[in-house]
């Protein structure tokens, strides 16, 4: 970019921008020629014929050139100007810290009144969709994100097979409830314990591995659990899954239309909504327990040891910390919360199959943790709302069908959007939405809140 007289500001180099756009277009052409330009189709005689799609290819190349041109003519000068401007006044950062302080209590208040709010706005008819698809679904992932946050964010152990423990919890509830007829409230802790047990079982052999190697082994473990569930038909009914799982009751009172059902006992008109609202508050309570326990653990020696482990394992051993046990507790604790979430999931769905526990689920949970900022509770919650809520909203965008035709399903594009979100986060906030670390204790009263955060640049991400 040429710099003229400073008073006149910067002149935009149009020729250079056009040249740059042409180069980008040429690269795009080379890349998309085989991908989009050609297509093989079978004709009537079952022969493969090559079909060309020049207009589509041209459209792609044109989009690339236009985007590049826009970038260098509009965005780059804008960023330039922004950089020259003095730093934002203190008021802006004060607003930001105030926002950060107010967000958790307000968010908490909102989720507590959310079902009633929905009921008030949509009435009985539309409420189930909003409470179930949005509320419960998002809260399950918030809980899973918080659980995985212990393993990945605090202890720095990259776990790509987290969904395995979710599956263990779900199947534990489904099988034990169907076989022995035990109630949800007995099986919930039991499922958590079983998952934690599996976490320890997996942990013992693999926790001497570090970083990428640990990630690969946990990935494999996730697949092993899924394949066992598929192939051991006598145990888990394979692909067909388990249906007719007993639903949770309101402390013994079932949610049905019978005379001793919830609605009849409380003198209400029967509606499936009561169960949904009950489930919403159950998962809300479970999530809050997860968050509360994590916050507490961070202030306990074991939590500090997890973070120390993420920072430097050798130093931990030189201080007499049994790193194997410390890692195992992190693994078991994370697995336990996944087990709780899994048994809740099974109880809510009434039907589970191995399909629900694919690697994609692990990847979704992990990306929630990474997007949110490893170790940050609020960040993970925001990321879960954005990712899971975003998917649900895509499903709701029916009006797009009228624009793009009946075959258009916006939910199909969610991976594309996730990918885009990931790339943007990587560019703007490489350590996640909330990347600063809050110290677990202070020697003096924290006078300046802004200073009481540890900058992301100093905090290790573990899994080296």
């Amino acid at each position: 970019m040429k710099v003229d007289a400073p008073a006149a500001g910067r002149r935009v180099d149009v020729a250079g921008a056009v040249k740059d756009a042409a180069i980008a277009a040429a690269i795009g052409f080379g890349l998309f020629l085989p991908l989009i330009g050609f297509r093989t189709v079978q004709n009537m005689r079952n022969e493969l014929v090559l079909e060309t799609r020049w207009p589509l290819l041209l459209a792609f190349v044109a989009i690339i050139a236009a985007a590049r041109l826009f970038g260098s003519l509009v965005i780059a000068p804008w960023r330039e100007r922004r950089r020259d401007r003095p730093a934002p006044p203190a008021a802006a950062s004060a607003i930001r810290t105030a926002l950060a302080r107010l967000l958790p209590p307000f968010g908490l208040g909102f989720v507590v009144v959310y079902p009633l709010l929905v009921l008030w706005i949509t009435g009985f008819g539309g409420a189930v969709k909003w409470i179930d698809n949005f509320g419960i679904q998002i809260l399950i992932y918030v809980m899973l994100g918080w659980g995985l946050n212990i393993v990945v964010g605090l202890a720095g152990l990259l776990d790509l097979g987290y969904v395995a423990f979710y599956a263990v919890g779900a199947y534990a509830y489904a099988l034990l409830a169907k076989t022995f007829g035990l109630s949800f409230w007995i099986l919930l802790p039991l499922a958590g314990c079983l998952s934690a047990f599996w976490g320890i079982l997996l942990g013992f052999p693999v926790l001497r591995l570090r970083g990428d190697y640990l990630a690969i082994v946990t990935l494999a473990f996730g697949e092993i659990i899924r394949l066992i569930l598929i192939n051991w038909v006598a145990f888990s009914n394979g692909y067909a899954g388990i249906s007719g799982i007993p639903r949770p009751t309101f402390f013994g009172i079932p949610f049905n239309a019978s005379d001793d059902g919830f609605a009849a006992v409380f003198g209400l008109e029967f509606s499936p909504l009561y169960r949904t609202i009950f489930l919403y508050y159950v998962i809300l309570a479970l999530s809050l327990v997860t968050a509360g326990v994590t916050v507490r653990l961070r202030r306990l020696p074991v939590g500090r040891a997890w973070e120390a482990l993420r920072e430097d394992e050798t130093a931990c051993r030189s201080l007499g910390i049994n790193t194997t046990n410390t890692k195992l507790t992190a693994f078991a604790m994370g697995a336990m919360f996944a087990g709780f979430a899994g048994s809740f999931f099974a109880a809510r769905q009434g039907f589970i199959s191995p399909e629900s526990f694919t690697f994609l689920e692990s990847a979704t949970i992990l990306s929630i943790v990474v997007l949110g900022g490893m170790g940050s509770q609020v960040g993970v919650a925001i990321a879960a709302i954005a990712m899971i809520g975003g998917t649900e909203i895509l499903r709701q965008l029916d009006f797009l069908k009228e624009i793009f035709g009946g075959n258009f399903d916006p939910a199909q594009y969610r991976m594309l959007l996730f990918g885009l979100a990931m790339v943007l986060i990587m560019i703007w906030r490489p350590r996640g939405l909330i990347s600063t670390r809050r110290p677990s204790t202070f020697l003096k009263e924290r006078k300046l809140r802004a200073r009481s955060q540890v900058s992301a640049a100093l905090v290790e991400e573990g899994h080296r």
């Binding site: 973070e307 920072e311 030189s318 201080l319 110290p439 204790t441 009481s452 100093l458 290790e460």
Partner: protein, 301 residues
């Protein structure tokens, strides 16, 4: 052989990495309450000796014994060696065989603390948190292995306050009290060195192993370090084992110096004895013994 008034007894220590003999048949003793320096040219095997003592390496051969308690405790050494267990508790004290003890137990039970040549703090945690992590095992017990702590039993709160007081004490001793709530990674280099020593001391060690604590310090900082180490020796029941290249530190504070060259001990004695030892001078100048005087004349010593 018994250890006499030694706190640490290293006998016939040999460490081989494949064909390379890093330490060969090294024997020395570090007396209780002394500052023992381990010196030698680069690559002499000093850090390897440290790693063997602190359990990070398992030595190929040799015995490393540590004594807690009275001198008479050494009496149990041979019986302990034959028995094949890690430690022996007698009426007089406890003996540990460090070559049999895994690294974290060396720190936890034998109470040997160490610092590292390239500083290994927890950079994202505050100075205070670093010192609390060092008191992990004590706090773990107080928190009922997390169970009581999570339920909010007051015993953990009390223990944590004691731990914070201990941390405060060491932050004051090392002059870091004003930076207690700053991330360790934000501290200047010299402060990080001192914080690492404070962290090691927070484990309540009987033996403190310092791997080049004065490396990268300016003369004033290393003078401060001398004072700190002397104060630790004077006020706490801690013996110090020190690797150091900075001779102003070694010669002014050590009670006893062991010199290594190519993994072999070439001298062992008081700073004065070592300073005048021909072999040591030869090793440091990198020449044969016979040529020492010639080279000394050349460099004007």
């Amino acid at each position: 052989m018994t250890g006499g008034d030694a706190a640490l007894l290293v006998e016939h220590l040999t460490m081989r990495f494949g064909g390379l003999v890093a330490v060969s048949d090294l024997s020395f003793a570090a007396r209780r309450g002394d500052i023992t320096a381990l010196i030698g040219p680069n690559g002499a095997g000093k850090t390897t000796v440290f790693n063997c003592i602190t359990g990070f390496y398992k030595p190929t051969e040799g015995r490393i014994a540590l004594r807690h308690g009275d001198v008479a405790a050494w009496g149990a050494l041979e019986a302990l060696t034959d028995r094949g267990s890690r430690s022996a508790r007698t009426r007089d004290g406890v003996l540990f065989l460090l070559e049999r003890t895994p690294d974290y137990l060396v720190a936890q039970q034998a109470r040997v603390a160490r610092t590292f040549q390239n500083i290994r703090l927890f950079p994202g945690m505050t100075a205070l948190e670093n010192l609390l992590v060092a008191q992990h095992n004590r706090l773990m017990v107080a928190s009922g292995f997390t169970l009581l702590g999570i339920l909010g039993f007051p015993s953990y709160g009390r223990a944590e306050r004691v731990a914070i007081d201990q941390a405060r004490y060491w932050l004051e001793r090392t002059g870091l009290i004003d930076r207690a709530d700053d991330p360790a990674g934000d501290l200047p280099y010299g402060d990080q060195r001192r914080l690492e020593i404070a962290r090691a001391m927070c484990t309540g060690p009987v033996l403190l192993c310092l791997d080049e604590p004065a490396a990268g310090l300016n003369p004033r900082e290393s003078a401060d370090l001398n004072e700190l180490l002397l104060a630790i020796r004077a006020d706490h029941d801690t013996s110090i084992l020190l690797i150091e290249h900075d001779m102003s530190v070694v010669m002014s504070i050590s009670d006893h110096v062991v010199v290594l060259d190519y993994g072999v001990k070439i001298a062992d004695g008081t700073p004065d004895q070592v300073r005048n030892d021909a072999k040591v001078i030869a090793a440091y100048l990198g020449v044969e013994d016979a040529e020492v005087e010639e080279v000394e004349a050349e460099v004007g010593l």
